[in-house]
């Protein structure tokens, strides 16, 4: 009798253990952009990046976990959405995970001549193993933004060819170094922290929550811009 009772409790506990144990998400929280994606032969990226200037981009999107129920891609000009089951979803040759290859051809005089990054939002109705994820991809524009610099972002130092993007937790200090003297346009939006001069041509920016845009100009007129993204939450994905 006691034996059966114990088994009943054990099975019950096992069933409870199978119920949802994922990390709760909050709509109001600005999460780290951490969706994986690849651009043709350019390379693999995670979350936030800048692509070199190309005529077109074959962007392979690889959201964490399972296939999302909805993927929304958006620029300053277009919004495209893909639902599970669309023919655009391509099965990967190996394994069960699926990917979406999106051919992005920036529209002339709209998407290629202004601040117009591509964003990706992946949404899940059932997030036991997968949760929403995002990416932010900006593009170099040598005609408009040609001022080179060096950015040390979240511990990594990279050369910026006119267009830079940096993501780290809000409040963390990032470094931008120019080869020459610059002036800054007013920071946008105005509540974002301004760049702080340190020495030489080194500037530091304490990240504000969300997206802030910074634009610098050398005395010769060359421009550089930086999108600095400060997040407040990281999503932990069980099993990935």
């Amino acid at each position: 009798m006691q034996f059966k009772k114990t088994w009943a409790y054990l099975i019950g506990l096992l069933l409870l253990g199978c119920s949802s144990s994922h990390m709760p998400m909050d709509v109001g929280t600005f999460y780290k952009r951490d969706m994986n994606f690849k651009i043709g032969n350019v390379g693999s990226f995670n979350g936030v990046s800048v692509a070199p200037q190309l005529q077109s981009y074959a962007i392979q999107i690889e959201p964490e976990g399972d296939l999302p129920d909805l993927l929304v891609l958006r620029t300053c000009h277009r919004e495209e959405s893909f639902e599970k089951g669309d023919s655009n979803w391509l099965s990967q040759a190996f394994g069960k995970k699926k990917k979406l290859t999106y051919m992005y051809l920036p529209e002339a005089d709209i998407e290629d001549n202004r601040v117009c990054p591509l964003r990706g939002d992946a949404f899940y109705t059932d997030d036991d193993n997968s949760q929403h994820s995002w990416f932010f991809l900006d593009f170099e524009n040598r005609k408009l933004f040609a001022l080179q610099s060096n950015i040390t972002c979240n511990g990594k130092s990279v050369t910026v060819n006119g267009v830079g993007a940096c993501q780290a937790r809000k409040g963390l200090v990032q470094v931008i170094k120019f080869p020459e003297d610059v002036r800054w346009a007013p920071t946008k939006p105005s509540y974002c922290n301004d760049p702080v001069f340190k020495y030489g041509n080194r500037w530091e920016i304490e990240l504000t929550l969300g997206e802030c845009l910074y634009m610098a100009q050398s005395k010769s007129g060359a421009l550089a811009r930086f999108t600095m993204i400060g997040y407040e939450g990281i999503l932990l994905r069980e099993g990935y």
């Binding site: 069933l15 117009c116 990054p117 109705t125 634009m215 100009q217 811009r225």
Partner: protein, 71 residues
């Protein structure tokens, strides 16, 4: 024995109710996020901010942003 069976059934019911509640919460959150994404104006904002910054740099004479005295 009956108490054991009763306890087991209670656990099953509790499990099913948990799953239903979780599902509803997950779906609600999914649509909350969709609504948020639908109202998202970040792309347009960045574009406008960029235009404003460019306009400022075009119309204002160049002057270094360095303070007179190093900090």
């Amino acid at each position: 024995m009956w108490s054991g069976i009763f306890a087991f059934l209670m656990q099953v019911v509790s499990f099913i109710l948990n799953r239903i509640t979780d599902n509803e919460e997950t779906k609600k959150k999914f649509f909350d996020f969709i609504r948020q994404a639908a109202n998202d104006t970040k792309s347009t904002k960045l574009m406008k901010w960029g235009e404003e910054q460019l306009a400022y740099l075009e119309k204002t004479p160049w002057k270094s942003s360095k303070p007179n005295k190093p900090q």
